[in-house]
Symmetry: C2
Subunit: 244 residues, 2 copies
Amino acid sequence: MDTFDTEKEFLASYNIHDFDVPLCTVDMCIFTVKDEQLQVLLTKRGHFPKKNQWALPGGFIDQSKDKNLDETAFRKLREKTGVASPYLEQVATIGGSKRDPRGWALTVLYFALIPHEDTELKVDASSLEVSWVPIDHAMSLKLAFDHNELLKLSKERLRSKVLYTSLPVHLLNETFTLPLLQKTYEIILNTPLQKKSFRKRFLDAGIIEETGEKEPGVSKPALLYRLVDSNKVHVFPRTLESAT
Amino acid sequence: MDTFDTEKEFLASYNIHDFDVPLCTVDMCIFTVKDEQLQVLLTKRGHFPKKNQWALPGGFIDQSKDKNLDETAFRKLREKTGVASPYLEQVATIGGSKRDPRGWALTVLYFALIPHEDTELKVDASSLEVSWVPIDHAMSLKLAFDHNELLKLSKERLRSKVLYTSLPVHLLNETFTLPLLQKTYEIILNTPLQKKSFRKRFLDAGIIEETGEKEPGVSKPALLYRLVDSNKVHVFPRTLESAT
DNA sequence: GAAATAGTGTCTTTAAGACAGTATGGC
DNA sequence: GCCATACTGTCTTAAAGACACTATTTC
């Protein structure tokens, strides 16, 4: 070892294929709220392995297209949904010898939040079908690889962060009403919330502002709000007391 | 594509070396509190690339030894410190084309918390030196690869979780006093805390119990406590109001 | 005016911050 | 008894929960 005098010499002789390398992918848990339900995007796999099984969308890093990991995730999301500006967050990285029949495999799991109105589902070459699936139903399916586990991790991360952050805003359109936002929280947490404290929480935080418009509806119109800074996630000083 | 009729046929012809694969490593940010300072373990690299530079300990997945990613992290920690039961948590996974001269490289970053009394630093084949370095000093060094960035991420994750969890308990021995625990929080957060609320927080949470022993000292001895469940991290309902 | 939904007033509860006071050990 | 440090009492403050109340729109 280290028969090299300089880093340049070392690099000239280095070949990654001399080593055992794990299979390496990015998988996405893409969430939206649609028909008063939290839903996740699933694809039916078009190729081996696990051909014809439902799975989370994902795939390999493209070393020529992706300058970094986040770009891989953005690309996957765009390929399936056409959405360009989601909320995106890493959940975890799972690796092991048993999770993929091809060998030691590692996947970087992301979750994305998008307003479902923005999406136009695309069946690309790698999938036979692409569909929104209500989360409880998705969990009851037998997904490919360890994707049931990945989905569970993502759902738990989402639920726990919803208790103390402004994340669900990213499931709505750019302008939204407070009653709709509260409803979105309630759907994700599966529990009713107090109107008064919910409104106070957001209004005191100074993270939203009135647009001046109102949402017309069947009764009294609600004020429309937008985020003051659409890239910032607000962390509240206390968690909601939510039942499970 | 898909000239295969069965998954078995597909797998028989699959060879990972037919594809562009990223370099894949695990890096560790190992924290302890020693001499009233938050310190991190650094190693001076013994091999190319970045030979002779200080870096976070880390290395490749060993497909024969490591059944999953966490085992790689545990193994790395054991190799450097001899510690077998740390608190271990994934921070993030960073990947990109520019971070390693060998090519597109991905690293799974973990942080570990250990009581420094347990450690026996080991200079193994891969490093010339291994040392605890106070965090501020470590950040001022020019570390190998993007390890300054990895260190910053880990430090921020630690600081933010210390505000609402019981994490720092894992920096202490199995039995500890509340004044020492408070001191540990204050060192990490770099701010004094209120004694009364700090004690109430822990005692009301029901996560620690008296051992019946006392810590002898220069004045009134403090009661010794231990964790009721040493594997559980407690999440408090509110964050501490800490200045930066 | 009735129905429906948006939004407010106000009281309670919980847990943190501030800070002064008491307790208990070594010497 | 004195010092140092551990521990407690008690008041204040911030933000959530409960829930009844008022406001504004469509019909």
